[in-house]
């Protein structure tokens, strides 16, 4: 029952954001390609949706598990993607070359693939985890995969020449999600979700910047 409701809600959200899959190619067309604009549109929609879900799941987790534990005070949460040098303000984002930015986006997305899979599975083990958190975790993991595919398509279109992309950070936080001590375990989750919210916001922003730059010529 709850699962059905969750599915319906997620579908509603998806349709609201327009992320439902649109027919790509008219029937019968031999070589059919989406325009770059269309690809970027979808990518932006996906990234926006992922960030929206990440915000929500973080807020819910915060409300439910983090109150009174002083997690926020430990602001030294370092994300595993911190080693990737990404633009930290508008200027840097303006200056970076779009191909590099695209590669960076891809690298961040790839680095999150693994943690999201484990997040979706480990969050089930949290005692009395609410259904909304559970399905959001699963949903984020799925949408991230889709966004990754889309970004690879875009990169294939935009890049001239061979695509070399070794931007990636491994994630080693799985043991912390499985700690026996509940407080430490919850803090690990809190950290991860906080990083997820931040990184999804980054991705969303970079993609919008790129879209305005490449498609609309800085005149969104």
């Amino acid at each position: 029952g709850l699962l059905l409701v969750a599915l319906l809600v997620s579908h509603m959200l998806l349709t609201k954001e327009g992320v439902t899959s649109l027919p790509i190619c008219p029937k019968g067309s031999v070589s059919c390609q989406l325009s770059l604009e269309e690809l970027f549109d979808r990518a932006v929609k996906l990234s926006h949706y992922i960030h929206f879900l990440s915000s929500e799941i973080f807020n819910e987790f915060d409300e439910r598990y983090a109150q009174g534990r002083g997690f926020i005070a430990k602001a030294v949460n370092s994300c595993h993607t911190a080693s990737l040098t990404t633009p930290e303000d508008k200027e840097q984002a303006q200056q970076i070359h779009h191909e590099d930015l695209l590669n960076l986006i891809l690298g961040v997305l790839r680095s999150w693939n693994d943690p999201l899979i484990h997040l979706a599975s480990e969050v089930q083990r949290i005692k009395e985890a609410p259904e909304t958190i559970l399905w959001k975790a699963v949903e984020i993991e799925e949408q991230n995969k889709r966004l990754l595919e889309g970004m690879e398509k875009i990169v294939g279109r935009v890049h001239s020449g061979v695509v070399e992309n070794d931007i990636y950070t491994p994630w080693d936080g799985l043991p912390s999600l499985q700690l026996a001590d509940e407080d430490s375990r919850l803090f690990a989750f809190y950290n991860l979700l906080h990083c997820l919210r931040r990184d999804s916001h980054k991705i969303d922003n970079y993609l919008k910047v790129l879209k305005c730059r490449l498609i609309h010529d800085n005149n969104c």
Partner: protein, 587 residues
């Protein structure tokens, strides 16, 4: 009250700079004024640094310009004086984005209604100048609110991404105020409101001063007149002499009481009446003695001479009185003013029935009186009632006679079947206790010219009968009140040749079960023993007969002869047979 210095908030309007604000509290009124400092630290740094700009954002503020701002980096700020830390906050810039208000609000007229009373406008604005929307660095959504000038509550529109929105159906005679605020798209908090935009239609010359008297729907008048009209109608109905109309609109409300029991009667100990009251009335059809629906039957003491002849109280109690065709279950009993002696669905049925009611004899009045209370107790009655509720609905008089053993003279064939008070003529399809020795059902053997159905007695005692052959193995669902014709037929067909016993019945004997009319009529039974041949209770009699003529709605004329069982099974759903199938049975 001592108030410590506190960081009230940190805010970034465009995700490129940010500022923090604090309150000084009344702390240093009490002591030597100290200088408050704001220190900050990025997460990857060790040392606390001091605020680079205390001025730009105003008093008690610290401004971090673009070079000091890293968007996704966690910061911590703390308010301190020389050696004391008063407050500390940690955040990252993307979390504290609160955009400036939109600017350059304006409106244009889209169109006006024909009467000129209403108009549509389009409101436009520009995004806050600080937010770099064009390069896509920040995405904003806007919420517009509007209200009439002298209202207090603002109407809110849903947040939207576009910088223009139409407002429909504004009153041209009124002036409006509009304000807009914005927020970053994935945030929850809005920034400040913009300046208020005033909308005045008269300024552009289409204000309609004379239209202020809007014709509003006169709800008040409508309600008042509606209520008056309704009251007048109700009163006139109540006072009218048309009983039918009255009945239609004000159906009689039964007084709550135990059905069938009149406490007064019990107290007085008039067994006769109690007896008659306890009689089970089985007809569901309106066998109405309602020559006048509105005659009130408070209590009638008409003594029936027959009743005095009763052998014993027990007998009387157990004999079948009568009866009316009131059903055990359906009618209302209401002795405080009998609105009707009829079924609840009176309006349809009683009009026709009242004609027949008129034909009733006076003696029925008594029956009517005493049996005005239907009783559910007939379910427990040990006796059989006679009734053929569905067979002869137009003949309400069928069972009105007290068919006691002595009085079964009316029903000639079966008077001798009445050996005991328990066994009497029954033609019913009533709910009978299987413990009784009487039949659940009897066979209709004849129909008198008067229209009455003559029944032949069934078997005497069903209990303890030895099981017969194949039928016994069959599992009739005992808790169903309906049997599949197929099953029943099978049973009958198998055994009908040997015995004319309605074995089925015994199988189907059930405290609560009863066959429907359909099952009665469609089951083909061997009527090897028509009425004349079965006076003795030992003789088995087929309990079912076939329909000869169906004269709906008035009843069925049953055929006394046996009909061959059709070879093929009917595809009958339990309990019902269509007329087509019926025709197949019929020769």
């Amino acid at each position: 009250i001592l108030q410590w210095p506190q960081i009230s908030k940190c805010r970034s309007p465009e995700m490129e700079t940010f500022s923090c604000f604090w309150t000084a509290g009344n702390f240093y009124n009490l002591t030597v004024p100290r200088i408050l400092q704001l220190l900050y630290k990025k997460s990857n740094e060790e040392d606390w640094k001091e605020c680079p700009d205390y001025i730009t954002s105003g008093q008690n503020s610290c401004y971090f310009n673009a070079s000091y701002t890293s968007v996704w980096t966690p910061y911590c700020v703390q308010l301190a004086s020389k050696n004391e830390v008063y407050d500390k906050k940690c955040f990252s810039v993307d979390e504290i984005v609160l955009p400036d208000p939109p600017v350059h609000l304006n409106w244009t007229l889209l169109n006006t209604s024909q009467t000129g009373i209403h108009g549509d406008i389009q409101v436009r604005w520009d995004p806050p100048p600080t937010a770099d929307v064009r390069k896509g660095w920040i995405t904003l959504e806007y919420e517009l609110q509007y209200k009439e000038v002298n209202e207090t509550k603002w109407n809110e529109l849903k947040p939207r991404l576009s910088t223009m929105v139409p407002l429909y159906s504004l009153k041209t005679a009124r002036d409006y105020e509009i304000r807009i605020r914005s927020r970053q798209r994935t945030s929850e908090k809005f920034g400040e409101f913009s300046e208020i935009l005033y909308v005045s239609f008269s300024q552009i010359g289409i204000g309609c001063d004379h239209c202020t008297e809007e014709v509003e729907f006169p709800w008040f008048l409508v309600v008042v007149f509606g209520v008056c009209g309704l009251a007048v109608t109700v009163i006139s109905i109540m006072l009218s002499k048309q009983p039918r109309l009255k009945m239609l609109i004000f159906p009689p409300v039964p007084v709550p009481k135990i059905k069938g029991i009149d406490p007064d009667l019990l107290k007085k100990g008039k067994l006769d009446e109690v007896n008659s009251i306890l009689a089970c009335h089985d007809s569901y059809k309106a066998q109405l003695y309602c020559d006048d629906l509105w005659v009130e039957f408070i209590e009638l003491d008409i003594e029936d001479p027959e009743e005095k002849n009763r052998a014993s109280d027990t007998d009387r109690l157990l004999s079948e009185d009568d009866l009316k065709s009131h059903s055990c279950l359906g009618t209302k009993d209401d002795d405080s003013g009998r609105a009707s002696c009829c079924e609840p669905d009176i309006p349809e049925t009683d009009f026709s029935a009242s004609d027949t009611c008129d034909a009733t004899s006076d003696s029925d009045q008594f029956k009517k009186a005493t049996e005005k209370e239907e009783d559910l107790l007939c379910l427990e009655r040990q006796d059989n009632d006679e009734s053929l509720p569905n067979l002869a609905s137009t003949d309400p008089q069928r069972q009105h006679r007290n068919t006691e053993s002595e009085n079964s003279s009316v029903w000639a064939p079966f008077e001798d079947s009445v050996e005991s008070p328990h066994l009497s003529v029954h033609t019913q399809i009533s709910n009978q206790n299987s413990l009784t020795s009487t039949d659940f059902y009897a066979q209709v053997s004849d129909i008198t010219p008067a229209g009455r159905v003559v029944l032949s007695p069934g078997q005497k005692s069903k209990l303890g009968r030895t099981q017969r052959e194949s039928c016994t193995e069959q599992n009739f669902t005992m808790d169903n009140t309906y049997f599949c014709e197929a099953d029943v037929k099978k049973c009958i067909a198998v055994t009908s040749q040997e015995e004319n016993e309605p074995r089925v019945q015994e199988q189907g004997y059930n405290e609560d079960g009863y066959f429907t009319t359909e099952s009665l009529t469609t089951t083909v039974a061997n009527l090897g023993a028509p009425t004349a041949a079965v006076p003795s209770s030992e003789m088995p009699v087929a309990d079912y007969t076939s329909i000869h003529i169906v004269q709906s709605p008035q009843g069925l004329v049953l055929n006394a002869t046996a009909l061959p069982v059709p070879d093929k099974e009917f595809n009958v759903s339990c309990g019902y047979v269509s007329t087509d199938q019926l025709n197949k049975i019929m020769p």
